[in-house]
């Protein structure tokens, strides 16, 4: 589905990714985890062509990224950025309708089918009651759902998300990720997501990829990755990992006080 092949990237002289290779399969939820500055967001942006790597290449659905037109790509993949800006004067309806852009003709007129799909997307993330509200009138949690609904309106086969749960409370974090989980399960959407929160990543992912200083340190199921000693050293012994009684294959993490001893 998404094949990242020996990608290296640097901002000026600062090297961010070294020779990263990954294969992401259809319907999988793959989370990129790792400390700040590990290169998670950069890798995500590169995987969807918003940044060009200095070396290596990316194939999506067996086609090189540069062979995709931006319109075709937008019909195939959607993006939920970190703290996305939405014009405050737009209504929720107008904001989500933007997701139909890659399907509209050159005049940008929405047809009945487009409006149907937008309605479905709003229903899917349970904000159909907000339709007429303005972006300036809704909460942060609702705003993230609007952006997710816009992504769904693109009818994507794969979904890229960059820390979508930032600045949401636990309830809203869980709701948003549950929507995404359901998408992967019911619609076989491939999800590639950057997550800071290790517990959320462990709870909702099929596969975790731990990055450190632009290198893939671990790649496996939540149990395999979180159970590995290397996680502790990557996070400089600031966490402790234990098995949760309700779901043994998805370990949990708690912070530990440092400098105590």
């Amino acid at each position: 589905m998404i094949k990242i092949d020996k990608v290296s990237f640097s901002y000026g002289t600062r090297s961010v990714l070294h020779n990263v290779s990954l294969d992401i399969h259809k319907g999988e939820i793959v989370s990129l985890i790792g400390p700040n500055g590990a290169g998670k967001s950069t890798l995500l942006l590169i995987a969807m062509g918003l940044l060009s790597p200095q070396q290596g290449n990316i194939r999506v659905n067996n086609r090189l990224l540069k062979e995709w037109s931006s319109r075709d790509f937008a019909q195939y993949c959607a993006f939920v950025p970190q703290n996305p800006y939405l014009p405050p004067a737009f209504t929720i309806w107008e904001s989500v309708l933007l997701g139909r852009t890659p399907y509209l003709n050159f005049l940008g007129l929405a047809r009945k089918k487009d409006r149907e799909i937008v309605k479905q997307a709003l229903r899917w993330v349970e904000i159909e009651n907000l339709l007429h509200r303005k972006v300036s009138e809704i909460s942060g949690g609702e705003r993230q759902r609007v952006v997710l609904a816009r992504a769904l309106a693109q009818e994507p086969e794969c979904l890229f998300l960059d820390e979508p749960t930032n600045s949401l409370d636990v309830h809203h974090q869980v709701t948003l990720l549950s929507f995404i989980h359901r998408l992967a399960e019911e619609k076989q959407v491939t999800v590639f997501i950057v997550l800071h929160d290790l517990n959320l990543a462990s709870t909702f992912s099929d596969r975790l990829i731990l990055l450190e200083d632009g290198l893939v340190v671990l790649d496996g199921t939540p149990g395999q990755v979180m159970g590995n000693e290397k996680v502790l050293s990557v996070y400089r012994q600031s966490i402790t990992v234990f098995n949760r009684p309700d779901e043994e294959s998805r370990p949990a993490v708690l912070p530990v006080r440092m400098y105590d001893k």
Binding site: L86, P87, L98, F106, S136
Partner: protein, 349 residues
């Protein structure tokens, strides 16, 4: 009225605005030293367009006044007002900056400098219905825009902040040049002529100017019509816009070019008329919301009607003397805008 008002509300609003514009054209054509009643204006227009003789009594001089003097001026005002307001919408959207106006990237300073040079060198040539001042202003504006765009280009991208800053910097340089020429002029008439041009006026309007700027405006409006929904998407940041399938750089370049082309054509025949391009988009956005497919035509109609009415006042309040039209647009527009701003108390973009 809710800005999320459906399509019918918006279409009705557009029709009403079009009707108001037509009324303004008729009223304004009748205003002046020789008053022509609105109904007679309509009859004369009808007769001219259809060729039917409708047997009404009117002095022969009305024909000359209406068709050779007033109508070209009113129609030029329509086109210029329309262009400035639409260009204002485009630049505010493109730069995501509420302070943006059609002159933001050097159009006014470039056009002014060009016009001033033509005035001081006493260029007398004319081409395609334009005099030397208009032609110099037109190319001054376009040259400045291309220079600024070229200077702001970094690799394959043109960051908006750099574009604005380069525009401000080059603009001050050109304004300094204009001022320098005005101060060193040996002929006071040239300075007055330049000043008059800088404040904007429609007093020199002729048919050749109306038909002369039409092709540039036509090209501009056609492209903007096609690109209007993309302006909605450019309200998002560049990553989001790109992820929705928009080629951001290409879209930006096309929009800047066609908008500047139309603005340069308008400015070349009217001089620098301030305020319309800045305020009309905000007024329309405050009342009807920010869907650019509606915002563009509506602002065009409001800008046209507004400029015609301002021009009517400019030439009648202190008749036979004329006020610079920019003074009138600011005098009426600013209080109205401030009233709307206080009343709505919400984000304006």
């Amino acid at each position: 009225m809710r800005s999320s008002g459906g399509v019918p509300v918006k279409i009705i609003s557009l029709i009403i605005a079009l009707f108001i514009l037509l009324c303004s054209i008729v009223l304004s054509s009748g205003m002046g030293a020789v008053h022509i009643p609105p109904l007679k204006v309509i009859s004369l227009l009808w007769q001219k367009i259809t060729g039917w003789n409708i047997h009404i009594d009117y002095p022969e001089s009305w024909n000359v006044i209406l068709f050779n003097i007033r109508l070209p001026r009113v129609l030029l005002g329509t086109l210029v007002g329309m262009t400035l307001a639409i260009a204002g919408v485009v630049f505010q959207a493109l730069f995501r900056n509420p302070l943006a106006d059609p002159y933001l990237i050097g159009v006014s300073s470039g056009a002014s400098f060009g016009a001033t040079i033509a005035i001081y060198l006493v260029w007398k040539f004319s081409w395609g219905g334009f005099n030397a001042i208009s032609i110099a202003a037109f190319f001054g504006a376009l040259l400045t825009m291309f220079t600024i765009y070229g200077l702001s280009r970094i690799g394959k991208r043109t960051p908006v902040t750099i574009l604005i800053l380069a525009g401000v910097a080059l603009g001050s340089l050109l304004t300094a040049g204009t001022t320098f020429l005005m101060f060193t002029a040996s002929d006071a008439y040239q300075t007055i002529h330049t000043l008059g041009w800088l404040f904007g006026s429609l007093s020199s309007a002729r048919w050749s100017e109306v038909t002369g700027i039409l092709p540039y405006l036509g090209i501009g409006f056609l492209f903007l019509g096609i690109f209007s929904h993309r302006l909605n998407i450019l309200q998002l940041d560049e990553h989001q816009a790109q992820a929705l399938g928009i080629n951001v750089e290409q879209t930006k370049l096309i929009l800047i070019f066609v908008t500047t082309l139309a603005t340069a054509a308008a400015v070349s025949v009217s001089g620098i008329i301030g305020f319309v391009g800045l305020i009309v988009p905000h007024i329309v956005r405050l009342i009807w919301g920010s869907d650019h497919r509606f915002l563009l035509p509506m602002s065009g109609l409001v800008g046209a009607a507004g400029l015609i009415l301002a021009d009517s006042l400019a030439r009648t309040i202190f008749a036979p003397r004329e006020l610079p039209i920019g003074i009138v647009t600011a005098l009426i527009g600013a209080p109205f805008f401030l009233y709307l701003l206080r009343k709505q108390k919400r984000d304006i973009m």
